[in-house]
Symmetry: C2
Subunit: 304 residues, 2 copies
Amino acid sequence: MKFEVTILGSNSAIPAHGRHPTAQILNFNDELFLIDCGEGTQMRMGELKVKRNKINNIFISHIHGDHVFGLIGLINSMNLSNRKKPLHVFGPVEVHQTIDFQLQLTKNELSFPLVFHETKMEVEQIVETSNLEVITIPLDHRVACTGFLFREKFRESNIRPEAIAQYELSVDQIKAVKNGSDIQTKSGETIPNKDLIKKKKKNRAYAFCTDTAYLESIIPLIQDVDLLYHEATFTESELSRAKDTFHCTGKQAATIAKKANVHKLLLGHFSARYGNLSPLLEEAQEIFPNTELAHEQVTFEVGS
Amino acid sequence: MKFEVTILGSNSAIPAHGRHPTAQILNFNDELFLIDCGEGTQMRMGELKVKRNKINNIFISHIHGDHVFGLIGLINSMNLSNRKKPLHVFGPVEVHQTIDFQLQLTKNELSFPLVFHETKMEVEQIVETSNLEVITIPLDHRVACTGFLFREKFRESNIRPEAIAQYELSVDQIKAVKNGSDIQTKSGETIPNKDLIKKKKKNRAYAFCTDTAYLESIIPLIQDVDLLYHEATFTESELSRAKDTFHCTGKQAATIAKKANVHKLLLGHFSARYGNLSPLLEEAQEIFPNTELAHEQVTFEVGS
C-alpha cells in the first residue's frame, strides 16, 4: 500500500532560489492529501501531473501566507472545472474566514460542497478511515499552528504462499487472512492468523511539523515515526533569530528527531537567505545522520 | 526612453499548458508598472529577475482570481523584505477589501504605506507624471472591470548633431532642446525648436484590455495606440460561449484592433481548452495581420 510524500514547496516566507512556499502531496493508498497550500501550489501540481480533483482533504497548518495563499486559487480552479465531490479543509478558523470572505466578494457559488473543519491547539484525531488516522500536533508559533500526524491504523499482511497450498485457501480466505483474520480449514480446524502470514509489518507514520519554535512537547506524539518533516528555517548561527521568530534551526530539528527516535528526518521551510543549504543539512546530520533536505519535486517514501 | 511590456502570464481562469494567470510588467523609462497580478506573479518576476521593490504602482483590472490572487503574496513579500516606499494599488473597491481583510486577519502591520486608489467604471486619468498618463478604460465583464491606457505625454526629441556645432550649444541647451525648448544663440538670435531637432516623434501608447465582451465603445479611447493587448479567450467557433461569459474571440479582438487603427495587436487570456493557439492567431490575422500571441516571458516594445 503506497505511503509517500512529494514536496511541492520547501521555502519559508519569501520565494527564492527557485524554491516555493510550503505544500506537499501525501499519497496514501492512492488517496491524495494536500498539506499546506502556499502560493502557486496548483501550478506545482500541474508540473507534476497531480490531478486536483483527486484531492479530497486539505490540511493547513496556520494562516501565514506562505502556507495558505494558494488555497483560494486551487478552490477556484476546482470550481471552474465543475467539481462535484465535497472538499474537506482542515485548519485554524482564520483559514475558513479568509476563504469565505474571498468567495463572497466574487459572489462565487461553488459547484461542490466545501466543508471546513476548524483545528484547535490540542491533540485531536481529525480524520479516521479504516486504515488511516490524522491527528493534530499543537506547535509553538506566532499564531495558532498545528502539525499533522498521518498514522496507518492497519496494514495488510503478506500471506505465506505455502500456507495457501497447505490449507487450500480460497480467494476470500486469502483476503481475510491479509486483513488479520484467523481461518477455519475444511476439516474444521482453526488456524490462527499469525501462523498464516509473514512477519507482521509495523504500521507506518508520517509527521509534518511546521512552523514552530523548538518544542519538546511534540516528542511523545511523533515517537518512532518513519518520516518526520520538521522545519529548519535557519542554521544554528541564527539561533537567536530563530527564537525571536518562533522557528527552528537545523540542529534543533535534528535534536527533536533524535529524541523522538524517528527513522528519517526531512528538513524544510528554508529561509530565503540560504542559496546553498549544505550547512543546514550538515549541522543536522551531526546530531541525526539519517537526515535529508526536502528537495522540491522529490517523492519520499514513508517507511518500507 | 524605454517603453515595453513583458508578459508574465497569458492564460485565463485555470492555469494550463505551462501558461499562468494574467500579469504583465510595463517598463516605462525604467519605471516598472505591474498590470494585474494572478497567482504566482512574484515567482514569475523572480524567474525574470524583475525586482519587486522597483514596482511602485500596481493596476488591477477586476476582482476575478486569475487577475488578483497573487497580489497578497507580493505585498507580503514586499513587507517581509522591509520595504519603506509607498505602494500604490489601483483597482475596484473589492481589491482593496480583500487585501485589507487578509492583512487584518494576520494582524500584519506593513513596513510601508499601501495606498489604494479605487477605479470606477468611467474614463478617468488615474496617474499623471511629467511624461506619462494612465487612463481607465471601462470594459464589459461580469463584474466591474477596467482596462488601462498608458500614454506618453511628452517624448524627448533627438537633436540634429549639426545644430549643436552650428549654434555652439552648451550641455544645458542641448537638454533644453531635447525637452522641447527654443534656444537663444550667443548673438541673441532665437532658434525655434523645430529647426534644431530631427523629425518629432509621435507619443507612444499602450492599451491593456481584459476581461471584456466585444465592446466598440473602447475604440475612441484606444485609437491609434502602438500596442493593444486585447483578450481573446476563445476562437470564433466558441462565439456563443464567449458572449455568455463576457469574453471575446480572436476575431473580435482583431476587429477592435482594426477599427481602432492600432499598430500592433497582442492576443492573451487564453482558455485552458487550447493547447495549440495557432487557430486563435490565424483567425485574428485574417482581419488584422499585425497580430501576435502574448507569449509568456517575452518582451514587446511599445512603438518605435
